[in-house]
């Protein structure tokens, strides 16, 4: 239990709940905590600093993470390590074709002793839920995650049940092996703040992995922050300053993806909000209290790419969402002074 009478160094003062500029000291404190957490994860997931920081950015943005890569690249390890670094409750669900929605959300059982129905929470009731190989479950089971991912609650037999806060879903999927899998629907993809690819480690990191396979395990990692701190940091990110021209810049970027000739469905307003939140966290992680275009550009592909549905002919030619985002950046001028001088 935390002592609520004492103000945590990262706690946002009540007066800052208003749209007020954060102080640089708070930003530096945020950055230090963020870096400590990232460093801790880096000790387990070697050579993936960028992915780790993007994942943590998503976590502090109160968004969910979809890790997509071939088997054995460390997706689950990354998810478990993040869960271990935060001293909250975490659960892992191994998605299989016969997994039922109630196996995820929980079930109501009649208690003969009490003579009443009791709700038994499913594994989704945790601060961090690792949905391993999410695309192996049936669409019905996948959709059981929809409500909880968006609203943070589960409704069983008409009764809503709040999941603990903060709540983070880290899902993994294998893009190569498609037999016996069900592609995630667009609506669910849109609920993931970022989609990350871990990728193979560089040679040096891979050698290091081989050397310490037995020593490195998420179970050995001591928690760096608790869930309250994560919640406070997420709250702080909501007060990052965004200059007016950047709002226009962000909307123009989204419009550029929507109006792109090779795109069937562009970025949704939810995606735009997600990018703004993620950029806010990214700025704070750099010790800044304001967003700059570099933050937007760093996060646009992980946030936007999986939300863009390319036109069928473009998809046939191998045009990806990332390429569309790159095109959009080439079309929209950065609102810097005299940038065209």
């Amino acid at each position: 239990m935390h002592d609520t009478s004492q103000t945590h160094p990262l706690q946002v003062p009540r007066r800052l709940q208003q749209p007020v500029q954060l102080g640089s000291a708070q930003a530096e404190q945020f950055a230090a905590t963020f870096e400590a957490l990232a460093s801790a994860v880096d000790t387990i997931v070697l050579g993936k600093q960028e992915v780790v920081r993007l994942a943590l950015t998503a976590m502090f943005s109160e968004g969910h993470i979809l890790l997509e890569d071939v088997p054995g690249t460390g997706k689950t390890t990354l998810a478990r390590t993040i869960a271990a670094a935060v001293s909250g409750q975490w659960r892992r669900i191994q998605f299989t074709p016969d997994l039922l929605p109630s196996d995820v959300s929980g079930v109501t059982i009649f208690n003969q002793a009490s003579g009443a129905f009791e709700f038994h929470p499913g594994p989704v009731f945790a601060n961090i839920v690792i949905a391993d190989e999410i695309n192996r479950a049936s669409p019905k089971t996948q959709s059981a995650l929809l409500e909880v991912m968006e609203e943070g609650r589960v409704t069983v037999d008409g009764n809503p049940h709040q999941v603990p806060q903060p709540f983070l879903v880290v899902a993994t999927q294998n893009p190569v092996e498609m037999d016996g899998t069900y592609r995630l629907p667009e609506a669910q993809l849109d609920r993931f703040l970022v989609k990350l690819s871990v990728g193979y480690p560089v040679e040096a990191a891979e050698i290091e992995v081989l050397r310490g396979t037995h020593q490195r395990s998420p179970e050995h990692l001591a928690p760096v922050v608790d869930t309250d701190t994560v919640a406070q940091m997420a709250e702080m990110a909501k007060h990052v300053y965004i200059a007016e021209p950047l709002y226009t810049y962000l909307v123009q970027l989204a419009n550029a993806t929507r109006n792109h000739p090779q795109v069937a469905v562009g970025v949704s307003p939810r995606g735009l909000i997600a990018l703004t939140r993620a950029a806010s966290v990214f700025a704070l992680s750099q010790g800044r209290t304001y967003i700059i275009p570099e933050d937007v550009k760093a996060l646009a592909v992980p946030v936007f790419a999986h939300r863009i549905q390319t036109a069928p002919d473009a998809a046939m030619r191998g045009v990806t969402g990332a390429a569309i985002v790159a095109d959009a950046f080439d079309q929209v001028p950065v609102p810097l002074p005299a940038s065209a001088a």
Partner: protein
């Protein structure tokens, strides 16, 4: 919403009105060479009609506009042809003839052009077309600038049609420009809505007041410059506009028309020959030909004849009228008092140089016509203190090989008389007193013939002649004296109805004076007065002439009125002194070169002022932004362009190719742009301090031409 709609409608209506009036003004330019107001009304109607149709269809499908407008044009053309037709031909024939021959006849029509079907079709058609296109561009598609193009082309076509046959007409140009400016101003977008990035300064639209003040000051300076430099610059233009009528072959002259002076001998031989009947309103000399060029053999007229309408261009108000019926006067030259203003019942061509008339088909017995003239006053009194008008070199040229007697007489005249007028009159007196009229004298006015007339003894047949000899000899000697002269052939016609006979035909000399113009002199001897042998007078003059030394010592009283020293002479009017003055041409060339040289200086000054403004004015954030803009501008000069979609970090990556340090400028510009208040005074100083070293470091990478020019 309704206010916006009303404002929009007002703007559209204002643009339509301006463009319509531009078409009217452009059509009016061509109407200046037309007789009367008919064409002006027709082009104005065409402009309004075409614009009205286009305006009414502005919200209809675009394919409707050409068809309906073409129908309207056809109807309007038919109306115009019917209105201007004289009814002598069936309307169908008139329409076909007008449509087929419109272009060549318009370009070669007599000036002032009579508004007949042939000549109104082209202006009306072009005006309608220009107005329709202008309406489509400006009203339907909202391209006001493009909409100004058709009226401008119409204006140019009007100028081409007019050629040199009308005054400059600056008011038309001013009105046209004002209307165009008004149309553009009405549709002008505020700076923040303009698509070009020049409309923004440091990412923000400029405030209205400085922009307005700048526009007012610039306009004032431009107007002042035009007012001061315009007249002087206009004087540099020495060529007239091209005239499409120059491509039309002028009427051909017969031999007797080319050199009508030879007719004098014939007329002197047969003085009773009846040439024409005349019923005139006053006594006047009716000119047949004016001869200004002398090549030592013949006197000939200068300038081509141009076909004209009933009204002769450039003439003043008619003060004299004559009804003429030809009897035996041949040739093509038409007798008329100077200067003819209008001729009816006879197709004519006019020599714009001498204002003489010609009828292309030639005169025949029974030909009758009416001519009105604005009589030119023969003003000897006004010429007494005037300088000779030497502006036309063809009137002062003396052919080589003049007889010695001519030089002797010229020397005598120069020695005897002081002022130009005295010399002109003295020469006339000399000829009239020393030579006699002889109707039987052989014809000829080449230099040997004139030498025979002037210098041969009486016993050999010399010293007597007809007006041909007197006028020709006078004109040549006058030129040797320094007086511009010409020979005129014509008739002395009394007031009232009379028959003009050959006895009234005469040649006389005229001398040009600055101010009074051409003044007629009469070198003919008075009837019944015995001539004094010229040798006596000339020998006496030689005895009285001082030696050259004495003459050089100031003994000569003759005044060289071509001497520039006369500029200060109060005897001559000041206007004459200024005729050839003005700013020397080299001054204009030097001024132009200086202006050209000032361009790079002005650009450098502008750049320096801009840098100063960017780095020294405004808040710290604005100065950091200014430093960033300066760095990007310098990099652009060095050939490294930073695209608009690059953020500060990417821009810094591109600038690294220049190997010049920009330090923390990317971070500062991000802070300045996206976190107002996060930039301190020290940050601004650090950012602005980077600009100078950066510029110096990359200076050698800027191409020399760009470095010189900017």
């Amino acid at each position: 919403m309704s206010t916006r709609r009303t404002r929009y409608r007002l703007r559209v209506a204002a643009v339509a009105a301006c463009l319509t009036l531009m078409c009217v003004v452009a059509g009016t330019v061509a109407a200046r060479v037309y007789h009367g107001q008919m064409l002006l009304l027709l082009v104005a109607g065409a402009a309004f009609g075409a614009f009205a149709i286009g305006f009414a269809l502005r919200n209809r499908p675009s394919f409707l506009a050409p068809g309906i407008s073409a129908t309207g044009l056809a109807a309007y053309l038919l109306g115009a042809i019917a209105l201007t037709s004289d009814g002598t031909e069936p309307l169908g024939v008139t329409i076909v003839d007008a449509l087929v021959n419109a272009v060549p006849r318009t370009l070669t029509a007599l000036i002032p052009v009579e508004p007949v079907p042939d000549t109104v079709v082209v202006p009306v058609f072009l005006t309608w077309l220009a107005a329709s296109l202008s309406c489509e561009f400006a009203i339907r598609y909202g391209r006001t600038l493009l909409g100004c193009l058709p009226p401008t082309l119409l204006y140019g076509a009007g100028l081409y049609l007019v050629g040199p046959n009308a005054d400059a007409g600056p008011l038309y140009a001013i009105a046209f420009c004002v209307l165009a400016a008004a149309a553009l101003a009405v549709t002008a977008a505020p700076p923040e809505r303009r698509p070009d990035r020049d409309a923004t300064v440091d990412g923000q639209a400029p405030s209205r007041m400085p922009a307005l003040m700048g526009a007012v000051i610039t306009t004032t300076v431009l107007l002042a410059a035009v007012a001061v430099l315009g007249p002087a610059a206009a004087r540099l233009v020495t060529t007239s506009p091209g005239d499409p009528r120059e491509y039309v072959e002028p009427p051909q002259l017969t031999d007797i028309d080319l050199n009508p002076l030879v007719r004098i001998a014939e007329w002197a031989q047969y003085p009773e020959q009846e040439l024409f009947k005349a019923d005139t309103s006053a006594d006047a000399w009716m000119r047949l030909a004016v001869l200004t060029e002398y090549d030592g053999t013949t006197w000939q007229a200068t300038g081509d004849f141009r076909t004209a309408g009933t009204v002769v261009p450039g003439a003043g108000e008619a003060t004299y009228s004559a009804d003429v019926e030809i009897i035996e006067l041949g040739g093509k030259l038409v007798p008329a008092a100077a200067d003819p203003a209008s001729v009816t019942d006879l197709p004519i061509a006019v020599n714009l140089y001498t204002k003489c008339l010609l009828t292309p088909d030639g005169l025949a017995t029974g030909t009758s016509f009416h001519v009105d003239s604005a009589l030119v006053a023969n003003d000897p009194a006004g010429a007494e203190s005037a300088r000779p008008d030497l502006s036309d070199v063809t009137t002062v040229g003396v052919p080589p090989g003049t007889p010695e007697i001519m030089a002797t007489i010229a020397e005598y005249i120069n020695a005897t008389y002081d002022t130009p007028y005295e010399r002109a009159q003295g020469l006339a007196d000399f000829l009239s007193q020393h030579y006699s009229f002889d109707a039987q004298a052989p014809s000829g006015h080449d230099l040997p013939a004139l030498g025979f007339f002037l210098g041969s003894p009486v016993t050999a047949g010399g010293q007597r002649g007809t007006s041909e000899h007197f006028a020709a000899a006078y004109a040549v000697i006058a030129r040797m004296v320094g007086l511009p002269s010409r020979v005129v052939v014509g008739f002395d016609v009394p007031s009232g109805s009379s028959t003009v006979t050959a006895a009234q035909g005469q040649a006389w000399p005229e001398v040009a004076f600055d101010g009074p113009g051409w003044v007629r002199f009469d070198p003919m001897p008075a009837a019944g007065v015995a001539p004094v042998p010229p040798e006596e007078t000339l020998e006496k003059m030689e005895e009285e002439t001082p030696s050259p030394e004495e003459a050089e010592g100031g003994g000569g009283e003759a005044e060289d009125f071509n001497d520039e020293a006369l500029e200060q002479d109060g005897d001559f009017n000041e206007e004459a002194g200024q005729a050839g003055g003005g700013v020397p041409r080299w001054v204009w060339y030097a001024a132009g070169a200086l202006l050209l040289a000032c361009v790079p200086l002005a650009l450098k000054l502008r750049r320096a002022l801009r840098r100063r403004r960017r780095l020294r004015r405004g808040s710290p954030a604005e100065r950091v932004a200014g430093a960033w803009a300066e760095v990007l501008a310098e990099a652009s000069r060095a050939g490294v362009k930073v695209p608009g979609h690059a953020n500060a970090e990417e821009a810094a990556g591109r600038l690294s190719a220049l190997k010049a340090d920009i330090g923390a400028l990317p971070r500062l510009v991000n802070a300045a742009a996206f976190a107002p208040g996060a930039v301190s005074e020290a940050d601004a100083r650090a950012a602005t301090a980077l600009v100078g070293p950066f510029s110096r470091t990359i200076r050698h990478q800027v191409k020399w031409l760009r470095r010189f020019l900017t």
